[in-house]
Symmetry: D2
């Protein structure tokens, strides 16, 4: 039942400037360079809940050294009876927070009809796990002229993930950042929301020059595991982290979504410090480490 990987334009083998496995197609977002020498940190609240809440966290993550602000205006939520985000009002808040702090904005879009509106505010358009194979949406964000952060679906194969990225690329947009955020298994429910798949980082970076980042917040679902798994992700070759932050302990209960996985700004600061320590020993920046074939 094994099928051969289709010929995709985002693979090294067909994207000629990037046949060298040491090279990355960097994605420039204002002054931030995703895929460059230093791993980047995107941080912020799960959902934009108010201007005050978002601004407080934005200031805090900026002080902590994060590169970009994440925050959901449109939230994909399992039940229709739960908070779905502030929507357009949330976009206005993000726009205002960017104006005040100067931080670039990463925010999710779920509806192809809203791509242009979200793209006016977003510096990076995020495609969530549930939307990884929402092909009309991928096509629309491919046309929006903005970098795209594409999360892996819960049990997507490497081929399915790369093919999803290709839907964006065929619209002329290869400024795609791939984000591993944990997979579902049959044995992790006692201690973790998902299992962070770090085995995939190197094979993915060998297959494509697109930058690869990790979301340790959704991969664990618990604040106390975020710092240690951030450290592991960097050691495995992740080129960035996407992290949920809450302002203070009270926020854990007050937060309208996923309060239990947000970390505090001072913990974020320690994680940012890790990204300044230089490449890990088993680095991907030497030819020796990345050469070697993708499993066939």
């Amino acid at each position: 039942m094994t099928r051969r990987m289709p010929e995709l334009s985002i693979l090294r083998q067909t994207w000629s400037p990037y046949s060298d496995p040491r090279s990355t197609h960097t994605v420039q977002v204002g002054k931030v360079r995703v895929g460059g020498a230093r791993p980047i940190v995107i941080a912020g609240p799960c959902a934009v809940e108010s201007l005050d809440q978002t601004l407080e966290i934005a200031h805090a993550i900026k002080r902590a050294g994060a590169d970009l602000l994440r925050g959901g205006a449109f939230k994909p939520i399992t039940s229709p009876h739960s908070f779905q985000g502030l929507g357009i009002k949330g976009l206005e808040i993000l726009s205002e927070v960017r104006r005040i702090t100067g931080l670039g904005i990463v925010t999710e879009v779920m509806d192809p009809r809203l791509v242009s509106e979200v793209a006016e505010v977003a510096d990076i358009l995020q495609i969530g796990s549930r939307s990884m194979q929402n092909f009309p949406l991928l096509t629309e964000v491919g046309r929006a002229g903005r970098p795209v952060l594409l999360k892996r679906a819960w049990s997507a194969t490497l081929e399915e993930w790369l093919c999803a990225a290709e839907y964006i690329a065929v619209q002329g947009n290869r400024n795609i950042i791939l984000c591993e955020r944990g997979i579902r298994t049959s044995c992790h429910w006692e201690y973790s929301r998902n299992i962070l798949d770090l085995n995939v980082i190197k094979p993915l970076r060998q297959a494509t020059p697109l930058p690869v980042i990790v979301d340790p917040s959704h991969a664990t679902g618990q604040a106390h595991l975020v710092p240690v798994m951030s450290q592991a992700a960097l050691a495995a070759g992740a080129q960035g982290l996407l992290i949920e932050v809450i302002a203070k302990e009270a926020s854990r209960v007050q937060a309208r979504c996923d309060g239990e996985q947000g970390i505090f700004p001072e913990e974020l600061e320690q994680i940012v410090a890790l990204t300044h320590q230089g490449a890990p020993a088993a680095s991907f920046n030497s030819a020796a480490s990345l050469v070697g074939g993708l499993a066939k």
Copy 2:
């Protein structure tokens, strides 16, 4: 990490006419009654490829006794470089085939912007596995005034599936048919595309009065397993089947999608015959069999 199931309007406990586990909320589609005494059969090609191909199969499944015609005009396909369906042209073909054969049409919609156009042709709007948590799409089909066939996502929990149905229901549309189509596991790749989860049928029917059908074609990915797994699905309490059909052996190679899982009209006829044999012995139509609690 166990969370309590949210209070949904589609659960028996909150939908008062259906507190009796023997009862089903039947969905009427023309003269076809989904959830009635006889399990229904929906059959047809994977994709609408031409008027001739679709009409040939439609005539054949009608002769075989199938109740409704399935066929994809918009196909969710892993790679953007593969055939995606004929789109609007495919809808026109389906409309013409309905006019000629009188068969009701089941066809997928993937894009919220196309719901009204697809709803003009479709008697049942199909939501595919990849779209089960496409919330803007669920909302739009909830408003379209057409019955909806909602497939389970590859690794969706019962709660996630029912919450997806609730997104449709909160728009005022409870004419929802749930369709199990196989899940992914860690150990089936040698012999099957997915594993058909028949354990879920009874718990699902206990939790909600919505009719539950099974797609043995995607659950197996191989034509030779479709008849036997159809039989097993009916024995497990499925209230209908969704089956891919090809016209003749030559179509297996010629088909532009999933040729290896289509069965022939004569095999379909034998499966239809099973649905006329009356309820299986361990039937859900006795109080004794359905009473007993959903696993806690």
Copy 3:
């Protein structure tokens, strides 16, 4: 990463009398023929707890029409602080119950040092899921001169399962019965202990002539799902069932293991009736249904 299936002596392709996919290598156990025209039913308590308890259930399952008695003297239990079975004392009880009722005994052996002792009492030696790849044990039961019931491990591939059977066969014993008992997935915990994999039955019967049975008790973990999943298993081509029985409602709480999945003798009787209804429509006894290749 796909490897080719090794050449095993238990495959149809190498076991010449059984190249015809309609044929089964029947396993004779006293007057009971496993793999014959009628599916067989093995029933009994989870664990042998006392002579009275075992004898009461044995009489009840005999009246209900079951073919063989199951009951554990040695129980593989997750925690060392839980009841592990009566051990040798349990064997003595089983021996006495066989003398009184005439029922053949199926009981588990976990320790290669105890195989000959268990084989003195057992008509069929059971290898549990946790022991499927206990190679010294498989070798020992292969030498014991008794039929073997080999359960599939929780996430075993078809190849791993067949190779485990081959460990028994290479000792000169091909009287092996394969038993599917549910696999672990990432999405079933709310409603079922495991997922019964019925997709595997036909590919398994195509690959090997060994009889294949199903354990719906462990595959569901809940008494109310056992009758309906027994029916589904027979419809999928299972050649027998292995079912846990409790004597009365009080036993559900009193039972020292797995009380919640035992069914009552009257429910068992209805299941036994199903096995007398003749082969299901999509039967394996016609060449057409079993011919067709194992997925490659």
Copy 4:
């Protein structure tokens, strides 16, 4: 279906000297201290194939700085037609290699009847994944007076793994080292043999004071992923590594088992160097990092 974790003697809550989550129950093996300040490295061939081969690798891993020698005399192999190890002859070779090199030996035992013979040679008795719930074997190694390295089964929950360790502990032996070696998922087959579950390391170390190590060789199945995943494992808090080594490129094809995952001695040397760099930043040696509850 969630059950409460049983009260085990190896949990911090019941093992009074170790209620502080910063503490580890160290396991002393000659001069090597497992669970001490520096992570340890166990390395060697998959199987002992000859004195020359084992001695060559032993000298090489000693030069590279590894702490202990691993090597299989008894190999649990899927098919009975594949190489099963040299058995007793393999033990003799390991004994001779220890005499010559002074390296402590880690080797697997699969059969309870051979525990005392293996224990004469082994400094640490290894229990493989397939034997994690081989309860007679666990009981026997619990009595053997040797430290035990207990690998996690392919889809074992945390509770099942800890209960397996408890089977050893109840025999009076708490010198147990837990080893994560990759789990099976539904989506990794294209690029990795298993997925290394690093999410489990911290919850495991919070639950029990037993030292926790990682086997990146089996968790990836590919030599080129071993260095980077070793680095990630240390970053996640692993207290040691278990690594397969081959002497030279020719060995990859000649090796009688798992040649494709063995790394060269010079790569091992770089991995050993990582263990001398001191605790990672998000270290478990501060109270702040380990405090925080195990998921409930």
